[in-house]
């Protein structure tokens, strides 16, 4: 015989439809998003991982100042590697964008054609799919490079540029203003050689080498290249951000998503647990009778566990179906909006299924089992007598001071501590999500303003060789790039002692003393008086500088010293300089001598890219957290009303109006909610700050954590508005409680 108690489950569900449907939808939505994310992430990751073999991605590349002499190539190939030319030419297109043009690739770093066709003639070109989408460029459009018009015949994904880093040292890739492209060999040859980079890639013949062996081989290759004196750039695959950034990002997002899912499931498990516990309290005499009739504790625990576990299971199954269908597409489109990835195939992911179905059900089962097992461990007699306190309170909390109403409300709060505690924790989680959703866009905007405010000059020219200008606004400076050992690059500026562009900087006089940017100090926890150690990449030179001050320059991690010290440090002539700061555009220097021009837009690529990749996510996260606010407030506040139905009914009999009764009970919840929102604003700020620093330290460069002042009142307002909506429903609930209820329930 089937347990007849099971027949209550559906009725129980229908009776409390609002609560169960909200929990179901919230779980389903969360699981579908995480499941979709995991499936998409996994499928994309597999496509990404397989692309290494499929598209023969390089083990590393290097650039030389001239074409490689054949004896060097022979020497390199003795290291059991294949060397391939991958020359490219950078051209400025569409205002200030950079188009990096390659010949067609046949053996190494092959491309994946996403739309259209590969170039069939000299006037056709294929460009990166993501850059094209970001700039509304379609197949059939034309693009002008080096004065020549090319028809875009197709859009491709470059296997060695899944993240469009123009230079490996860039803070962030820039899929808005940088693209790779391929033209026919003839078309390539017809383009100006001025900007050609003699880039070579190597592929290990032995594909079974482990990471260490590959790194050793890269070191051997570099040693050979150093001897030539021609080496200008050297990047092994594991250091190549354009290749590895995407893969690393995929992994990090996954753990964040899992964490988010499990935290939400644990909170919902407590919500389930507390509501079931309240049901048990309500029907204590029934529980007592059943236990007295011979139902075992396990049978009762099982009975009360079925509904939450079933709801979670169904939510998980439907969530997974939605995850594989709708949500996957959303997440895939987010990936495609961030990275230039090849085509993918959806792959059934057992881990995703376990993580989003089995584990949530297990969490609900374990948390609620513990709650129920404890709640039902009382002897049957205590249930029959409605004595559900494990220990009888020896002392009642005395509330001598205050008005009756205040004391009444405090009593309600004391009566519902577990529910209010869950509400507090839930609001904490929702607040962290909310601040995350709200903080990023203003942070990005603020960073852009900071960069503009602290801009040294409107234009920073970097020259290939020192060339004089007649422009009166121009001021000479020196620049070099050093690296933190095994880390990112730091810009070293040598500036005039009486610089008009950096007039407020207090330059040190002594050799090896420097001024460091605030971002650099903050990122690496440096203090004035500390010594920093920097190295010159590809050379065995090490530099040590003593920090004697700091300077606010948001755009980069940089070090400032006087020009004279700079030239001494880097063994340059006394009159050496690398470029000009200028607020005016310099027009009297031939483009041939200009390596690059940095404008304020160039300094905000990190934040621009963050905005492009995640910008659409931020409002979604805010909405999600507001839904979480409403859900938790509704379920837990409703519980307080249900628990006190008889009392509410009784005070109505005594003469309290519906409004007064509602206020009496709901205002306790309102106090807790307002208190929780207020307390959780600084808590969420601190949590967000920690999470942000963990995130931003992984990236090259630095963006200060900034919370726009309007966010705090906005968070409070959102919380209050959410509660107000819930309060309205709760007041209606109180209105509906009949006066006869108090009489009916007296046993």
């Amino acid at each position: 015989m089937k347990n007849p108690l099971n027949r209550r489950l559906l009725r129980e569900f229908k009776q409390d439809l609002g609560k169960y449907i909200s929990l179901f939808l919230f779980l389903c939505l969360t699981i579908s998003f995480v499941s979709g994310f995991l499936v998409a992430d996994n499928s994309m990751k597999i496509a990404y991982d397989e692309s290494f073999d499929k598209y023969q991605i390089e083990n590393g590349h290097f650039a030389l100042a001239a074409e490689m002499p054949s004896q060097v190539k022979e020497k390199l190939e003795k290291e059991d590697v294949k060397i391939n030319e991958l020359f490219y030419k950078d051209f400025s297109v569409r205002k200030d964008d950079t188009l990096r043009i390659y010949r067609s690739r046949k053996t190494v770093d092959k491309t994946c054609l996403m739309y259209g066709d590969m170039p069939q003639n000299d006037s056709e070109i294929v460009i990166d799919r993501l850059y094209a989408e970001n700039n509304d460029i379609s197949v059939g459009d034309t693009i002008k490079a080096d004065g020549k018009k090319f028809k875009i015949s197709g859009l491709v994904a470059f296997s060695d540029y899944s993240a469009l880093f123009k230079n490996n040292t860039d803070m962030m890739f820039d899929a808005n203003r940088f693209s790779t492209a391929i033209v026919s060999d003839e078309a390539y040859d017809s383009l100006s050689d001025t900007n050609e980079v003699y880039c070579y890639v190597w592929l290990n013949n032995d594909t079974s080498l482990n990471d260490q062996q590959q790194a050793d081989k890269a070191d051997d290759i570099m040693d050979i290249l150093k001897e030539t004196g021609l080496l200008t750039d050297f990047v092994k695959r594991s250091d190549n951000q354009a290749i590895v950034f995407t893969g690393n990002d995929m992994g990090s997002d996954k753990s964040m998503m899992m964490m988010l899912l499990y935290v939400i499931v644990v909170i919902l498990a407590f919500v389930f647990g507390i509501t079931i516990k309240s049901t048990i309290e309500k029907e204590a005499s029934v529980v007592g009778t059943l236990r007295a009739s011979g139902y075992t504790r396990s049978e009762m625990v099982r009975h009360y566990l079925i509904l939450p576990v079933m709801i979670t299971l169904i939510a998980a199954i439907i969530g997974n179906v939605l995850g594989y269908s709708c949500m996957k597409e959303i997440v895939v489109s987010m990936y495609y909006a961030s990275y230039s990835l090849p085509t993918y195939t959806t792959i059934w992911n057992t881990d995703a299924f376990v993580s989003t179905t089995v584990i949530p059900c297990l969490i609900i089962f374990i948390v609620d089992f513990v709650i129920l097992h404890t709640a039902l461990s009382l002897p049957p007699l205590q249930f029959l007598r409605h004595e559900l306190q494990r220990k009888k309170k020896k002392r009642v909390t005395k509330l001598k001071r205050g008005k009756f109403i205040t004391r009444f409300r405090i009593r309600i709060i004391l009566q519902n501590i577990p529910a209010y505690l869950t509400l507090f924790i839930g609001i904490m989680l929702a607040s962290v999500l909310l601040i995350f959703g709200m903080v990023m866009s203003p942070l990005i905007d603020h960073f852009k303003v900071e960069v503009k405010d602290s801009l040294i000059s409107e234009y920073q020219y970097i020259l290939k060789a020192p060339v004089e200008t007649k422009n009166k606004d121009a001021e000479k400076y020196c620049v070099n790039s050093l690296n933190i050992p095994d880390g990112e690059s730091i810009t070293i500026y040598g500036i005039s002692e009486n610089s008009k562009y950096l007039s407020d900087i207090d330059l040190p006089e002594n050799q090896n003393e420097v001024i460091v940017t605030d971002g650099y100090m903050e990122k690496y926890n440096l203090q004035t008086g500390d010594t920093i150690k920097l190295v010159k990449k590809y050379e065995d030179k090490e530099y040590q500088f003593k920090i004697v001050g700091h300077y606010y320059y948001a755009a980069a991690l940089a070090v400032f010293m006087p020009t004279s010290n700079f030239n001494d440090t880097f063994e340059m002539e006394n009159d050496y300089f690398s470029g000009y700061f200028s607020d005016d555009e310099i027009t009297d220097i031939d483009d041939l001598y200009i390596a690059s021009v940095i404008r304020s837009n160039d300094l905000t690529v990190l934040t621009d890219q963050l905005e492009d990749s995640m910008g659409s996510m931020f409002p979604l996260i805010s909405v999600f957290s507001a839904v979480l606010y409403v859900l938790l407030m509704y379920i837990l506040a409703k519980l307080v009303i249900e628990k006190n139905t008889a009392s509410i009914s009784m005070i109505k009999i005594l003469g309290y109006s519906n409004r007064e009764a509602g206020r009496l009970y709901n205002s306790s919840t309102a106090i807790v909610v307002l208190f929780s929102i207020l307390i959780n604003i600084p808590i969420s700020y601190l949590v967000m700050r920690v999470l942000y620093y963990i995130f931003i330290k992984e990236l090259n460069g630095w963006v200060n954590f900034y919370v726009a002042p309007w966010i705090y009142p906005a968070m409070f307002l959102i919380g209050v508005v959410c509660y107000f909506a819930v309060h309205f429903i709760l007041m209606k609930k109180v209105h509906k409680i009949p006066m006869t209820n108090a009489l009916k329930n007296i046993e």
């Binding site: 015989m1 347990n3 007849p4 108690l5 027949r7 209550r8 009725r11 129980e12 009776q15 029907e283 005499s285 029934v286 007592g288 009778t289 059943l290 236990r291 007295a292 009739s293 011979g294 139902y295 075992t296 504790r297 002897p379 049957p380 007699l381 029959l384 046993e747």
Partner: protein
């Protein structure tokens, strides 16, 4: 099966607050008989019933039903003991609010390997036409009938009734007592009724009077009258 109580002691509290509720209760209730436990408030009758029912532990002494002795049983064994031998009827009916009459009775049937036929039982309890109603659609008497149905459907050796008419009016109380009598006669269960209503003792085979935790009177009722003829 015969119920036998030996030297049952029970006290509550400790030290100066210690109250001895049962002070060495020993008695036997014959198989298939109807026994009424009478006594004023605080005499210990409900505590005794709870000890027989295995929902409260005695400080010392033993309760045995046939060969099954309830002494030092753990929670699981107690559940099995209650499952095998006992049916419970309370003053407040304690029905499951969102189950129908039939389903409430099936809740009891589920506990037995050989339950009585639920439909038959509902007919004999006069609940057939109410079988699809939920408790709040029933009168107090009908609810108590359902509670009796739930208790006896598993055909327990002993039916324990704690103030079964306490919440009912005179006529309905008599109806319920008649029903309990019928059940006792038809199914042969031992019935123990705890009541403070002196008149109910007249329908019992055995009457046990308690006062201050001790049996003051334990006698066979030689002038037993049918429940229908009771008056108070």
């Amino acid at each position: 099966m015969q119920l036998e109580l030996k030297e049952i002691y029970k006290s509550f509290g400790s030290g100066d607050n210690k109250t001895e509720v049962l002070k060495g209760i020993s008695c036997t209730v014959e198989e298939g008989s109807m026994c009424v436990l009478l006594g004023p408030s605080g005499s210990g009758k409900s505590t005794l019933l709870n000890i027989i029912g295995g929902i409260e532990n005695a400080d010392s002494g033993s309760v045995s039903i046939g060969d099954d002795v309830m002494e030092n049983m753990n929670e699981k064994q107690l559940s099995q003991y209650r499952r095998r031998h006992l049916g419970y009827v309370f003053q407040s009916y304690n029905l499951i609010p969102n189950l129908t009459v039939k389903e409430n009775i099936e809740v009891g049937a589920y506990l037995s390997d050989e339950p009585l036929d639920v439909d038959e039982l509902m007919k004999s309890l006069g609940l057939w036409e109410h079988r699809n109603k939920i408790p709040n659609q029933l009168s107090g008497g009908q609810q108590q009938r359902t509670a009796i149905g739930r208790a006896i459907v598993k055909n327990p050796d002993i039916l324990l009734c704690d103030e079964p008419t306490g919440a009912l009016d005179y006529n309905t109380s008599k109806e319920i007592l008649k029903l309990i009598e019928e059940v006792n006669q038809k199914y042969g269960n031992t019935v123990i009724i705890v009541t403070h209503n002196d008149a109910i003792k007249n329908m019992a085979d055995r009457v046990i009077k308690l006062r201050d935790g001790q049996i003051r009177k334990n006698e066979i009722n030689k002038q037993k009258i049918p429940a229908a003829d009771l008056d108070w």
